[in-house]
Amino acid sequence: MQTSNLINWQPDRSKFPDQLADGSFKVDLSSGKYVKIWHGPNHPGVTGNMSLELTLCGDEVMDAKTHVGYLHRGFEKLFERRKFIQCFPTVIRMCVAEPDYNEYNYAAAIEELSGIKIPEAAKWLRMLALEMSRLQTLLRIVPGQGGTTGLGIGVQWGVYLRDLILDRFEELTGGRIYHMYMLPGGVRGLLPDGFRKRMEENLKEIDDFVQRIDRVQYQNAVFKKRTKGIAVIPPEWVDQYGITGPNARAAGFNRDVRKDYPYLNYDQLDFEVNTDNFSDIYNRSRLRWRDLQQTVDLIRQIMDKIPDKGDFKAKTPNVLHWKIEKGETYIRSESSRGEYGYYVVSDGSEYPRRINLRGPSYIHAVSLLERLLKGANIADIGAIMVSLQSCPPEIER
């Protein structure tokens, strides 16, 4: 049988400009060969409230600029005029998809600056909420990667399962999306009756989903063809750009805040950091799928250790007149997207002097995305953005 010409197909690159060493293209807009378009903010292929200004040559991206500001709410300015406890309902809104890391980082910063030690039960309950938060995010993003290549079924399974986890959140905290559970000093309550049983039922359904999504998505020829070898992050970029989380771990970096800077009781859990050796879309997504399995396992480990009784909140001063000692700190935790940090400065008054968020998307969706898109095909943009798991609200705060 004669080999198909498609296999040996070499595209004609004579009409495209050469890519320079820094990845950029020399573009002369007046030549009439290029077209500028806006990708977003209202576009199904954009992760949230941001847009991309693209310069195209045919269907290839020559230049990309990230534009944010569609969701700027001036939170960091608002914090300067609010007491520490009044900032609490606002910090969680910094990232809609995964609000619990904001709660934890903020509460931990206040506790560190004012020297408060939280009870043991609160530590385990905080870990439960953080891992549940990771689980519900991964249930969106793992099948969501298939969604960007036209594979819709996994997304529907994921939405259903995520809803179950939101039910458990509602039971535990009273809120589905924003929980306001980790108050400075501890948490707002212990596990409700029967929570463990219902959670275990949900986790079993997720175990089943993990196997199904493997067959449907990761062993799918079309999905592989669309994602393998696309948008590769070379290992040397990781420190050059400040890449963290699954995007760096897929490139071979064994870095996880839970292991490297153990906070709460993560040092008492049994888990290995998931890594890979080639950070393309497929491997990044596959690594998140492994993270999903790991999170289910961690939740089971945590549930075994949460006490049913006991103190869950340390005594704090009257929150309305709480003056935090002068000082500054940086608190980090491992969100599903990477290193999530809070830089908090107190001037000794009842109001914070500065609260600044370090979100992974600040790097992944701006400097890194702009670089990765150069030379990419316009049809792959949605898949690339989802594979970086960008969340615009944490860029503009």
Partner: protein
């Protein structure tokens, strides 16, 4: 103090002028450095001390002292320690040497700081392009002298039919209407 941090600070002290060393945690130290030495210090940290991960650049507005505090948070991913370099710069015509050539993401931070605080970083790519606020014509909004309430009162019209009440007086009248009689 963590031995890695101790060794790093000892090595730095022979080359740079360090002030106000404050240990916040075993793995986190704050150090104040001179503005003129900062960029060479960051380069030394990246190339010789293995502080290869640039965590973030932040700024604190100390309006009462007339200075901005720039905080460069650096991390050693092998030894798992952080050092924060604080650098005080004048608030008036605030300007700082750019560090965009050391880490790629720094340019984004500098662009944001120019927009939000008016701190210039000459030479930083696209530093004067608007980042979040398009068409902003007031003073940079994160500076502490920027009055958000006055800005919104001047910019937006109050909705008709609304009145503001002093909360204390309002609740007193509502709960104890006869108290003063």
């Amino acid at each position: 103090m963590n031995t890695t941090i101790e060794e790093t600070l000892t090595s730095l002290e022979s080359r740079f002028e360090l002030k106000d060393i404050k240990q916040q945690r075993g793995d986190l130290v704050f150090v104040t450095v001179k503005k003129e030495q900062l960029i060479s210090l960051l380069t030394h940290m990246r190339d010789n001390e293995n502080f290869t991960h640039f965590v973030m650049l932040s700024v604190v507005d100390w309006i009462e002292d007339g200075v901005f505090q720039l905080s460069y948070i650096l991390n050693n991913p092998e030894k798992h320690v952080d050092i924060v370099f604080r650098c005080m710069i004048e608030r008036e015509n605030a300007s700082m040497e750019s560090a965009h050539h050391l880490w790629k993401q720094v340019a984004t931070y500098q662009r944001e700081l120019y927009e939000m605080y008016g701190i210039d970083f000459p030479g930083s790519p696209r530093v004067h392009e608007s980042f979040i606020l398009e068409g902003w014509d007031d003073i940079p909004p994160m500076r502490r002298e920027f009055d958000t309430k006055k800005y919104s009162e001047d910019t937006y019209f109050p909705r008709p039919g609304r009145e503001s009440k002093d909360p204390k007086e309002h609740m007193k009248n509502k709960l104890y209407p006869d108290a003063d009689k």
